[in-house]
């Protein structure tokens, strides 16, 4: 039913635009029709699988529910409540901290690996590139399970190694360290992924640019800094934006770490985890939906600000 109604909708829309073609080039009705026919399958599934749940959540977020008494319309009350909820803010603060520490570390590491491998000065670079990338193919469920074992307070591998060399082992699952431990897991999973994107970008920069610089006597580091990095700044921006989104939506890793370090992680470690726990454990779907929307708004604002800031600096320089 959904499919049919959406298809009817898109058919109407294409008819409308076919009547009024615009643009500088000569665009025929056939082309507009083709454009809509080609986009329609995606848009239909997108509307049914994504926009409909989104709209339904928006609708739900305007109600408050109680175990006794049920649901009633309450306008923006859930949003007001969220803005005064220390759990929401502490979670947001934690992912912001994550963003400011983990994302730079991860991306700098990715850039360094990409530059090192692109320079062709590493023996076995091809193999190294693939090995760095492999963690991306490991499901986050498995990655967190593995690292959880390695972190183990008394008998984990890291503790075993510390003890073997006669040092006191850090408690990587303590409340003070758990954020850092989470950062490490995310780094492990995504350094290779970002490295591959950046490496691919570097590869498509023509060689003659470097060769000219080399002939001028510029060192490798100088070439990397003043020629290679500017050349791939769009790719860097892309990885930054994706990392921002990923940080704010942090969920799988803390949710699975909760099993082994429940008191350190807690139920409101990240806003996404908080919303999930509200919905699934406290049965408060309405409030959870409001939290999710606020989080989405924050992500959009931050992504927009970062993108504008980087692009403006580019224009200035």
């Amino acid at each position: 039913m959904t499919v049919l109604s959406a298809r009817a909708h898109s058919a109407r829309a294409s008819g409308a635009s076919a009547r009024g073609p615009r643009g500088s080039r000569h665009i025929t009705g056939a082309q507009t029709r083709a454009a809509w026919v080609l986009t329609a399958p995606f848009l239909v599934v997108f509307a049914a699988m994504f926009l409909a749940p989104l709209a339904y959540s928006a609708y739900l977020s305007l109600f408050t529910s109680q175990l006794v008494g049920g649901e009633e319309f309450s306008g923006l009350a859930n949003y007001v409540r969220a803005l005064q909820d220390p759990s929401f803010w502490s979670g947001l603060g934690r992912v912001a901290l994550f963003l400011f520490i983990q994302v730079p570390i991860m991306l700098v590491a990715s850039i360094c690996f990409a530059l090192a491998l692109d320079s062709k000065r590493v023996k076995g670079g091809r193999v190294a590139r693939l090995l760095i990338f492999i963690p991306y193919a490991v499901p986050s469920v498995v990655a967190t399970l593995m690292w959880g074992y390695l972190y183990g307070t008394d008998f984990g591998l890291i503790t075993q190694i510390f003890h073997a060399v006669g040092l006191p082992a850090p408690d990587l699952l303590s409340p003070q360290n758990i954020l850092g431990s989470t950062m490490n897991i995310v780094c492990w999973e995504f350094i290779g992924y970002n490295m591959i994107i950046l490496y691919a970008a570097l590869r498509s920069v023509p060689d003659d640019v470097y060769e000219a610089a080399e002939i001028d006597g510029a060192g490798q580091i100088r070439i990397a800094w003043s020629i290679k990095l500017p050349a791939i700044r769009q790719a860097i921006l892309l990885t930054i934006i994706f990392s921002i989104i990923g940080s704010f939506q942090l969920f799988n890793e803390p949710n699975l770490l909760y099993n082994i370090a429940p008191n350190a992680v807690g139920t409101d470690f990240t806003p996404n985890l908080y919303a999930y726990n509200l919905a699934f454990k406290n049965q408060d779907i309405n409030y959870a939906a409001a939290i999710a929307f606020l989080l989405g708004i924050v992500i959009m604002i931050v992504s927009f600000v970062v993108q504008t800031a980087i692009n403006r600096r580019e224009r200035q320089s």
């Binding site: 409308a16 665009i27 083709a34 809509w36 026919v37 080609l38 986009t39 399958p41 995606f42 599934v45 997108f46 994504f50 749940p53 739900l60 090192a116 320079s119 062709k120 000065r121 590493v122 693939l130 090995l131 760095i132 492999i134 963690p135 490991v138 499901p139 986050s140 469920v141 498995v142 990655a143 399970l145 593995m146 690292w147 074992y149 390695l150 008998f155 591998l157 075993q160 492990w188 591959i196 994107i197 691919a200 970008a201 590869r203 498509s204 920069v205 023509p206 060689d207 050349a231 791939i232 700044r233 989104i245 799988n252 099993n259 999930y276 699934f280 999710a292 989080l295 959009m300 692009n311």
Partner: protein, 301 residues
């Protein structure tokens, strides 16, 4: 986003004029290979753990083998436990991942191509909404999604996993960028003058040029579905429909559940080890395609 000032070359074209490979740096080589330990130790640990029984797992050094080599016994347990449901999970995962990847790549290719090569009303809005959707935290909307799916009788079925995986906003973005770069407008115009219809142009000329981009989207959606945990977790109840991730997490939970539990730590670890192998192999064999596809997606924006 603005286009990069240096025009990207067509993916896969050899570019090195001078063979720079001969000038190796020992220092750089050592640094890179030492840092590789970081990426490999967890996986090595996983393999070593897959060779131990529960008792050795908790008493022997993590990076070396235990008192007995139990790898094959563990593999045997893995594939016979609960009537061999693990094999079913692997098969499900392959099915979900492949069907989703093909579907998502097809939809994203058509949509991305149209967005890149045609001008039509609402184009900007469509692209904006698709890109914006990446920013919405889907996990938090899980229950509304579940309720809608239940209303459509889709929960606890194969479709509950496959249909949502057809939507790849990143795939559309990538294909739009890729199509803009690799399918020449003059080529399309020439085909039109020859009297080819729009769909024929797409089907015969564009698709071939888009191939590396398609493979990239295909692979990334394959990984995304393969590794998907949350969606199947909430949508599926029947164990025979589970993908590997949910099944393993279930066993892990069983290992530490309340009354009447079974101890499955080594089985879970062996299962984890087995489940990561197919993807690694897929990436190794298809690397030529996805790397060239990414090159364009990353440079142009």
């Amino acid at each position: 986003m603005t286009a990069a000032p240096i025009p990207a070359t067509r993916a896969g074209r050899p570019r090195r004029v001078v063979e720079r490979g001969r000038r190796r740096s020992t220092l750089l080589t050592i640094i890179v290979w030492i840092t590789l330990i970081y990426f490999l130790v967890p996986l090595l640990w996983l393999f070593v753990s897959a060779t131990k029984d529960n008792s050795d797992l908790f008493t022997s050094f993590g990076l070396w083998f235990g008192r007995s080599f139990q790898f094959f016994a563990n593999i045997g347990n893995l594939f016979t436990f609960q009537n061999g449901v693990f094999a079913q999970w692997l098969a499900n995962t392959v099915l979900y991942a492949v069907v989703s990847a093909v579907g998502a790549a097809a939809l994203a290719t058509a949509c991305g191509y149209a967005l890149a090569k045609y001008r039509f009303r609402g184009q900007g809005l469509v692209f904006g909404v698709i890109l914006g959707s990446i920013m919405v935290p889907l996990t938090a909307l899980a229950i509304p999604t579940y309720l809608l799916f239940a209303a459509a009788n889709l929960t606890d079925s194969v479709w509950a996993i496959i249909l949502p995986s057809f939507v790849s906003p990143f795939g559309v973005y990538l294909m739009r960028v890729y199509a803009a770069d690799s399918v020449d407008d003059s080529l399309i115009e020439a085909a039109r003058i020859d009297g080819a219809g729009e769909f024929r142009i797409f089907g015969t000329i564009a698709l071939r040029l888009l191939a590396p981009g398609i493979v990239t989207v295909l692979l990334f959606q394959l990984v995304a579905t393969w590794n998907n945990y949350f969606l199947p977790l909430i949508m599926l109840n029947t164990p025979t429909l589970f993908p590997v991730t949910v099944g393993l997490a279930q066993w892990q939970a069983t290992a530490s559940a309340g009354g009447g539990a079974q101890v499955l730590f080594s089985t879970v670890l062996t299962g984890s080890f087995v489940s990561v192998i197919p993807l690694i192999v897929a990436f190794l064999f298809l690397q030529r395609y996805w790397q060239s596809g990414l090159a364009t997606g990353g440079v142009k924006g």
